[in-house]
Amino acid sequence: MNYHWDWMFFFQETDDGLKYYDWILSGLGWTTAVSLASLAVALLLGSVLGVMRTTPRRWLVGLGDAYVDVFRNVPLIVQLFMWFFVVPELVPEKLGIWMKQDLPYIVTAVVGLGLYTAARIAEQVKAGINSLSRGQRNAGLALGFTEWQTYRYVRLPMAYRIVLPALTSEAMNIFKNSAVTYAVGILELYFQYKQIIEKTSQVLEITIVVTSCYFVLAFVMNRLLAFIEARTRVPGLIVGTKGDK
């Protein structure tokens, strides 16, 4: 191999006066910000949709199902382009202009990634709720809980515990998926990666560094959720052994 290793290039100054490692740090910051904000949107909306799809109300179920079908099956990059370029044309003109000119890119990107991920989280939350016995809901209702209270105090706390492993992998995926937002102009890690490759010839160093960044983000998220899992573990519980219908 004839490759010329040069780890010191990270400390070289770039055209804009910053060093290359500043570019990476800034990309890492944007990646983290877009991912965490999208995850928050996705958890919130995904939970609402997941709950809707398990209620006895047909129209709520239909609405939730339709959402998931659309947002899960259209590629993420197409969804992002829709939010950036199609939706501003469909809404009233003033709003469209505002979206194009004043709305920060990151907000649109977070909406795009968040709504996409929400569909996936809705699937998990629904599966978690449906894995509980019907008797749990009945027990809640029999004590005088409203339908909503059976979710709040009985079903969701168990459903989240059951689907935590699946949610962990969604939460780790979101960092990877956030790379797609470079295509709509977010100056995140993948954007910086491409930019640095164009400016220097140190492909291997930069690839190693950027890969490590993604790895560390996913790893930290994994540990965080493992910690939550340990903290919320229920003593003596064996999931899914009892219950009626």
């Binding site: 008797g135 009945n138 027990a139 706390p157 168990m158 003596g236």
Partner: protein, 242 residues
């Protein structure tokens, strides 16, 4: 206290309940029995509207459950129910299981709710287990907690749906003892059960159901003496002989 009048229910075209009529007066203990699939669970769940029905009426303490204006959560909070599979909330301690509905539904303070819960837990002989989780208790213990949880709401009557049929034989009696004591204290009770020893001891009346209909509804002495229908006789012979 509970009046069930001409209740019929269908799942699609399949009729689960056919024109069921009966009543449970204040302080009465009524045992409901019958073969599997005869509609016992469905009938008892109609009492607190866990199952809707298409025809007839159920009146609990003067309130019609099928009336769309009825506040069902409020009505249900006054009717205790115990299930075959206990249905304690697995992620909460026993104390929280006992307290949560008192706090969230009745609006009691947490201290008051815990105090009331622990008193009832003591009554079912499980005070030492207050800090445990349901998964750490045996089936019989869980079912006694479930009874205490229902009692903590100060119900006007209690519904039991096969409370001992998911239990190992050696745990059945600890649950039945609690139920017998409750009956002797004058609690109004409707119990789906095949424990005929319990029925003999405390029931006022026994109802026998078959294929969605109430085939027999008789005073205890009469039921065990000479049940009228042949189906009830066969059924009794079967469960008493094993």
């Amino acid at each position: 206290m509970i009046e069930i009048q001409n209740v019929s229910k269908w799942y699609g075209s399949f009729q689960v309940l056919t024109d069921c009529t009966t009543r449970v007066d204040k302080g009465e203990v009524v045992v409901v029995c019958g073969p599997s699939g005869s509609g016992k669970s469905t009938l008892i769940k109609c009492v607190n509207a866990l199952e809707p029905f298409q025809k007839g009426s159920v009146v609990v303490d003067g309130i019609a459950v099928e009336d769309p204006k009825t506040n069902l959560p409020k009505l249900r909070s006054r009717v205790g129910m115990v299930f075959q599979h206990f249905e304690l909330f697995p992620h909460m301690t026993i104390t929280d299981n006992l307290a949560i509905a008192q706090v969230k539904v009745l609006g009691r303070s947490r201290d008051e709710a815990v105090e009331r819960g622990l008193k009832l837990l003591d009554r079912v002989g499980l005070k030492a287990h207050a800090a445990k989780f349901p998964g750490q208790l045996s089936g019989g213990q869980q079912q006694r907690v479930a009874i205490a949880r229902a009692l903590a709401m100060d119900p006007i009557c209690m519904l039991f749906d096969e409370p001992t049929s998911a239990l190992d034989p050696e745990m059945i009696n600890e649950v039945l003892d609690v139920m017998v004591q409750l009956a002797q204290e004058g609690m109004t009770m409707m119990c789906v059960t095949h424990e005929m020893g319990f029925a003999r001891k405390v029931a006022n009346r026994v109802i026998f159901m078959d294929r969605g209909a109430i085939v027999e509804d008789a005073a205890k002495e009469e039921f065990f003496g000479q049940p009228r229908s042949e189906r009830a006789q066969t059924f009794l012979a079967k469960i008493l002989n094993h």
